[in-house]
């Protein structure tokens, strides 16, 4: 018998639904600090899932996703300041702007292969940062804060403002997961998995590798920019160095995915949980904490390249988000 789901995945679906309901109600049971932490968790979950889709499935190792994070932030702040648009409406527009920009930009960086692609995306992110620093209406190099009037247009009370920003985070975190899961179960997902496993074999089966990769790059850029616009709402300001930070929006994300398990849907979830646990206990160490994170990522890459989740699936053959089919032999 051929099935997609497993007992573990059916249980996971139920747990995920319950968890989602509990998280949805968080503004009523959680304090401001809890909401903030959960919101940040969702930001990293979304960024990690998106980067994993890019690097883990299509082999496009980008070190420049902060370009789109920063772009999203700047677009949201500019729109809500100069056009008076409701910030929540500015979020999808930021995504659209990023998609439109990623199309020509993608054509350019796709001329670079493999590792050179990685540094090429980084150069682009630097160009975005340096250009943002030249825009004087947005505060130039020192950046700009979202005026209180803009925040007032979101909701009158502090409770609803915080709740709205939190729900946006939850929507983007869960949305990124759903996007990756849905995509991987579709025809494109089959193509992506095939490309991940062997480019030559998938090309010979008629998969338009370059077109699939390009489409994923552009889609991920749009979604990443939406997360970026959320980040600007959470921080209530944008500045070139923070919004386009390679450490915050790419280095940590890469570590999360590598530690959790690259090329799996569950990996980024596991990685984000581990990242936040480590940060809770070790963040006081400052730069030593970052060194530990780097070393952990290197050790995992050398010892268990599929990360913690890869180790678990290999050991126990569990899949919480089944994308493939499995054959069960009945006695």
């Amino acid at each position: 018998m051929i099935t997609r789901s497993t007992p573990a995945s059916r249980a996971a679906a139920i747990v995920a639904l319950v968890l989602f309901a509990v998280l949805l109600a968080a503004p009523w049971w959680g304090a401001t600090s809890t909401l903030r932490l959960l919101g940040e968790f969702m930001v990293y979950l979304a960024l990690a899932s998106l980067w994993n889709l890019l690097a883990g499935y299509t082999g496009l190792v980008s070190v420049g996703q902060q370009a789109f994070v920063g772009l999203g932030g700047y677009v949201l702040v500019a729109l809500s300041m100069f056009t008076g648009l409701h910030p929540l409406i500015a979020v999808p527009i930021a995504g659209l702007v990023a998609v439109l920009l990623a199309m020509p930009v993608g054509k350019l960086v796709f001329r670079l292969q493999g590792a050179y692609f990685a540094i090429g995306t980084w150069v682009l992110a630097e160009v975005f940062r340096l250009v943002a620093a030249q825009v004087t209406v947005m505060g130039g190099g020192s950046g700009i804060s979202l005026p209180a009037t803009v925040l007032k247009t979101m909701a009158e009370t502090k409770f609803w403002r915080e709740a709205m920003i939190y729900w946006l985070a939850l929507a983007l975190g869960a949305g990124a997961l759903a996007l990756v899961y849905g995509l991987l179960r579709s025809r494109i997902g089959l193509a992506l998995t095939a490309i991940r496993d062997s480019e030559i074999a998938s090309a010979s089966l008629g998969i338009k590798i370059d077109r699939v990769k390009y489409a994923v790059y552009v889609a991920v850029a749009g979604m990443t920019a939406m997360v970026g616009s959320l980040i600007s709402l959470q921080k209530i300001r944008v500045s070139p160095d923070a919004a386009f930070s390679v450490n915050d929006w790419t280095a940590f994300v890469i570590f999360i995915v590598v530690i959790g398990g690259i090329g799996t849907i569950e990996g980024p979830i596991v990685g984000t949980i581990i990242y936040f646990l480590l940060r809770e206990f070790l963040a006081d160490l400052g730069s030593i904490y970052l060194m530990i994170l780097g070393m952990l990522a290197i050790i995992i890459m050398l010892v268990a390249p599929k990360g913690i989740w890869g180790f678990i699936t290999h050991r126990w053959n569990i899949s919480l988000f089944p994308t493939g089919y499995r054959v069960n032999f009945k006695d």
Binding site: A115, V123, L130, Q134, M291, L293, I298, L302, P305
Partner: protein, 288 residues
């Protein structure tokens, strides 16, 4: 006259960028590895030279006698113990491991040397210059830096095409399995390539430190300059890398003259322009 001056200074800075790039080009040529931590190693070499200068009182340029061998030994060990086990068909492991190294190096340097910026003091040579045209003077230090860059690239080129080690590099690069059958242990060949790369990195680091202030977080920027020089010049062509460095230096100098905020941006834009018009760089190696 002012533009002549700017272009000459840009060309001379280009020598430094070519030094950043030469090691990157070398290891990519031999083992298809792109070291994301390359720039951080350059900065680390500058700090190492700073320590040597503090301890011995040597001129930083003379400290190279100590810094280069140390860096080479480090490179050999790094390749042998860590990077060799990441090489394979998958490009992810080397990229992510060197990315991790980059973060470790930056924060390690920050922990040991704090965020203060430092400088290597090479004495009178730093400010001495000679006039070539009215209003145009060439500094001895930038000139020395450019001559060293040319010498390093000439030396690498000579080593590649005229020595047994160079033959081993080329053979392993072309077909590592056949090279292994001929008795070339690729792990050792790679380790030697990385040792050589780190030797060049050490020279680049010392010139970086003498030319300007440096701090633990300067690495990624140097990596990007080196990378741009490699791509502008064309992959696999060392003389092209030198020209790429010069083009980058001149673009930055012109950008800075127009608006100080555009210095780095102008270099990036020229790089993107080359990528758009000539994706293989201006002087690609002819294969086949």
């Amino acid at each position: 006259m002012i533009w002549v001056n700017i272009i000459i200074q840009g060309i001379l800075v280009g020598g430094l960028y070519a030094l950043f790039a030469a090691g990157l080009s070398l290891i990519f040529g031999v083992m298809r590895l792109v070291n994301i931590a390359h720039g951080d190693f350059i900065v680390a070499a500058a700090f190492l030279a700073w320590v040597v200068v503090q301890a011995t009182g040597l001129n930083p340029l003379l400290s190279l006698i100590i810094v280069v061998p140390l860096a080479m030994a480090f490179g050999y060990a790094l390749q042998k113990w860590i990077l060799n086990s990441t090489l394979g068909k998958d490009i992810l492991p080397p990229l992510l491991v060197t990315f991790g190294l980059s973060v470790i190096l930056q924060n390690g340097l920050l922990e040991v040397f704090t965020a203060d910026s430092r400088k290597l003091n090479a004495g009178v040579i730093e400010t001495a210059s000679f006039p070539v045209l009215p209003g145009v003077a060439i500094g001895y230090l930038p000139l020395l830096q450019f001559i060293v860059a040319v010498a390093v690239i000439w030396g690498l080129q000579y080593l590649f095409y005229n020595t047994a080690l160079g033959r081993a590099f080329r053979a392993t690069s072309d077909d590592s399995e056949t090279a292994l059958l001929m008795g070339l242990d690729q792990r050792k060949v790679y380790a030697w390539a990385m040792a050589l790369c780190m030797g060049v990195v050490a020279i680049a680091g010392v010139f970086l430190g003498v030319r300007s202030n440096f701090d633990p977080f300067m690495g990624p920027g140097r990596l990007i300059f080196g990378f741009e020089a490699v791509i502008i010049g064309g992959l696999g062509n060392l003389w092209g890398t030198l020209i790429g460095g010069v083009i980058l230096g001149v673009s930055q100098a012109i950008g800075a003259q127009i608006n100080p905020g555009w210095q780095v941006l102008a270099g990036h834009l020229v790089f993107l322009l080359v990528l758009a018009v000539r994706p293989k760089g201006l002087f690609p190696r002819i294969d086949g």
